[in-house]
């Protein structure tokens, strides 16, 4: 039987970094607990600054607690885990709220924290009076009530939804110092339950001339986008439920279009109308807002996809590493083209890479959590993550990305969307004090 010393030596032998600057093998944390003895032997942990003391009953252990509320909300001690609001006073302009990914874990965004963008406030829609119609190049235009759709075969799937403008601050010529929430908070991931759009199109029938559909919302902007009809047959969903409960008002109650992997703005909330067409509708949002000007003077149109992407949520801007030692790097990866296959991590600004552990089984067009143990030696480090999806698409370096897509002439507000669909590798620099900054590396 192996002695604890032999076990420690064996684990020590395994703690060979797999990439430079302290990146350890992905199995160190996940498949086996890294024993404290081993970690201590190797100098990977330092003693906690506050020593343990004799335990007593705290006050909350000595009185009865509060009654159960009908709908529970987070602990008041988690009050900072909330969305940030770009337009809290509902001025006549777009309103955004961002998901606090740096304060969250796992892969599923709770409904209260799912990002929301509305262009003219959140509508108050009575589901009993809401009507949804499919018309245009169909054989039979049909109208449904919410209660009708509830009786259809329902399907559930996980899907991330990302605003085209997520991470847009990284188009700036100099790195904007802001946290993950500010930079990457316009993406969330939920389990959506609803009726396949293809099921409803079976009932309306499709005129063979139809190649596109437009979807329109019932809120004040009557927001409309054009979608290729193939997406309806592929995986478009008329969602009624979000993480098991009715859709949140800011996320489309009572029904929304979910187009897994496509730009968030196309996934029409408060859905009231779908019209099949031979040609795209060319609404303001696709003729202007969600086009992407290029350095050549031309602009991309019909971008549709959120391409493969990842970002590190810990360590990240706003945190400070208290002392050298063992940390777990954690982050999110996703691709609008399928499942995440691999995430690689660098601690030296992209010179060497280690393969991260993927937590759970990656899902199609949904968040995948990645993690990797890292021994910070107290020196400078630049952490990067690079995701690769099942189709072999790889996140580009920022240099490669801006060579094609361009870089802004001046840094704009972190809230501005001067351009969209940024998916390049991002970098967090850690200095010798443990301070973390956004850098271009």
């Amino acid at each position: 039987m192996a002695t604890s010393n032999e076990n420690a030596n064996r684990e020590l032998a395994r703690l060979v970094p797999v990439a430079s600057n302290g990146l350890l093998h992905r199995r160190e944390f996940l498949n086996r607990a890294l024993s404290f003895a081993t970690a201590a032997t190797t100098g990977l942990v330092v003693a906690r600054a506050v020593p343990a003391e004799a335990l007593t009953d705290p006050k909350w252990s000595l009185v009865n607690g509060a009654p159960i509320p009908p709908y529970q909300t987070p602990s008041k001690y988690a009050a900072k885990v909330v969305r940030t609001l770009a337009n809290p006073n509902n001025l006549p302009k777009v309103s955004q709220s961002r998901t606090p990914h740096h304060l969250m874990e796992g892969t599923l965004t709770p409904n209260g924290l799912h990002f929301t963008i509305v262009h003219a406030g959140i509508p108050d829609i009575d589901p009993d009076q809401h009507r949804f119609v499919i018309h245009g190049l169909v054989k039979r235009p049909l109208e449904w009530r919410v209660e009708d759709l509830m009786r259809y075969p329902l399907v559930s799937r996980f899907a991330f939804i990302e605003c085209g403008g997520n991470s847009a601050p990284l188009f700036s010529p100099t790195p904007i110092q802001a946290d993950v929430q500010a930079l990457h908070g316009l993406v969330s991931c939920a389990e959506w339950t609803g009726v396949r759009l293809s099921t409803l199109l079976e009932e309306t029938g499709i005129d063979p001339r139809a190649k596109w559909f437009i979807a329109e919302g019932a809120d004040a902007p009557h927001l409309e986008r054009s979608v290729p009809l193939w997406k309806a047959h592929a995986d478009a969903l008329i969602a009624l439920y979000q993480n098991g409960e009715p859709l949140m008002p800011g996320n489309g109650f009572p029904m929304r279009l979910v187009l897994p992997g496509f730009e968030g703005n196309m996934q029409i909330k408060f859905l009231r109308r779908i019209k099949l067409l031979a040609e795209p509708g060319m609404s303001y949002y696709e003729a202007q807002v969600y086009t992407e000007p290029l350095p050549t003077g031309k602009a991309y149109q019909f971008f549709f996809l959120s391409e493969v992407k990842s970002f590190i949520t810990f360590p990240s801007y706003g945190f400070k590493l208290p002392a050298p030692g063992l940390y777990q790097i954690s982050g999110l990866a996703y691709s609008g083209l399928g499942k995440i296959k691999t995430v690689k991590i660098s601690a030296d600004g992209g010179k060497s890479w280690a393969t991260a552990a993927l937590d759970g089984v990656p899902r199609d067009k949904a968040f995948t959590r990645f993690r990797l143990p890292w021994h910070w030696n107290g020196g400078p480090a630049i952490l990067q993550s690079k995701a690769i999806d099942e189709k072999g698409n790889e996140q580009p370096t920022r240099a490669k990305f801006v060579a094609e897509r361009g870089e802004l002439a001046t840094a704009l507000s972190v809230m501005a969307f001067p351009n969209h669909h940024f998916n390049a590798v991002m970098s967090w620099a850690i200095d010798s004090r443990g301070e973390i900054t956004n850098v271009y590396a």
Binding site: K93, V133, R140, P141, L200, E216, E279, L305
Partner: protein, 182 residues
């Protein structure tokens, strides 16, 4: 008559009256005519298809603009809380492309479409079609794209020459059904 042939008869009648009902879905949708969808059928195609009857001029549009639009879009359409509307200069780099409205959009139709469906911000759908034509005339005349005295209507709005008409590249041609914009 056997039960079996009776069912067959019912099936035949059913098939004859509604030949294309989807077999495996609930069929709970109510038939609705295009006429009954008309109030919601707002989209204007780049060809001008969908433009309603009516007309307007820049002079009429300026009066409406000053009262209902300038608060957000600026006295001269230069932008404010809302995006700038009046401009025709070419894009100068990726910073400003998406904020230059009529100098950037490939078609005139989205200007009518968006004003009619979404503006004014505080009271969408409150403008008459004549007022929407007039506001379009004000924006396009101010941007130098039509003569100041042009009467815009369904016959000519889609014909306005847009300077950035050929400025766009489809990002993923394989994912994008071909379309022949006018």
């Amino acid at each position: 008559m056997s039960t079996h042939s009776g069912l067959t008869l019912i099936a035949l009648i059913f098939a004859a009256s509604a030949p294309a009902l989807a077999a495996d879905t609930p069929n709970l949708g109510a038939a609705i005519s295009e006429q009954d969808v008309a109030e919601w059928n707002l989209n204007i195609q780049p060809t001008g298809e969908g433009l309603p009857p009516g007309s307007g001029t820049a002079a009429e549009g300026e009066k409406i603009y000053t009262v209902k639009c300038a608060g957000c879009h600026g006295l001269k359409g230069e932008g404010g809380l809302g995006p700038p509307l009046i401009s025709n200069h070419p894009i100068r780099g990726i910073d400003e492309g998406t904020v230059v409205l009529s100098g950037y959009m490939p078609f005139a139709s989205p200007v009518f479409d968006e004003i009619r469906r979404a503006m004014p911000w505080q009271s969408p759908r409150s403008l008459t079609d004549n007022e929407v034509y007039a506001l379009c005339a004000f924006i396009f005349a101010g941007s130098g794209l039509i003569p100041a005295d042009k009467v815009l209507d369904a016959s000519n709005l889609a014909q306005i020459p847009m300077p950035n008409r050929n400025g766009f590249i489809v990002r993923f041609p394989k994912l994008t059904p071909p379309f022949k914009a006018p």
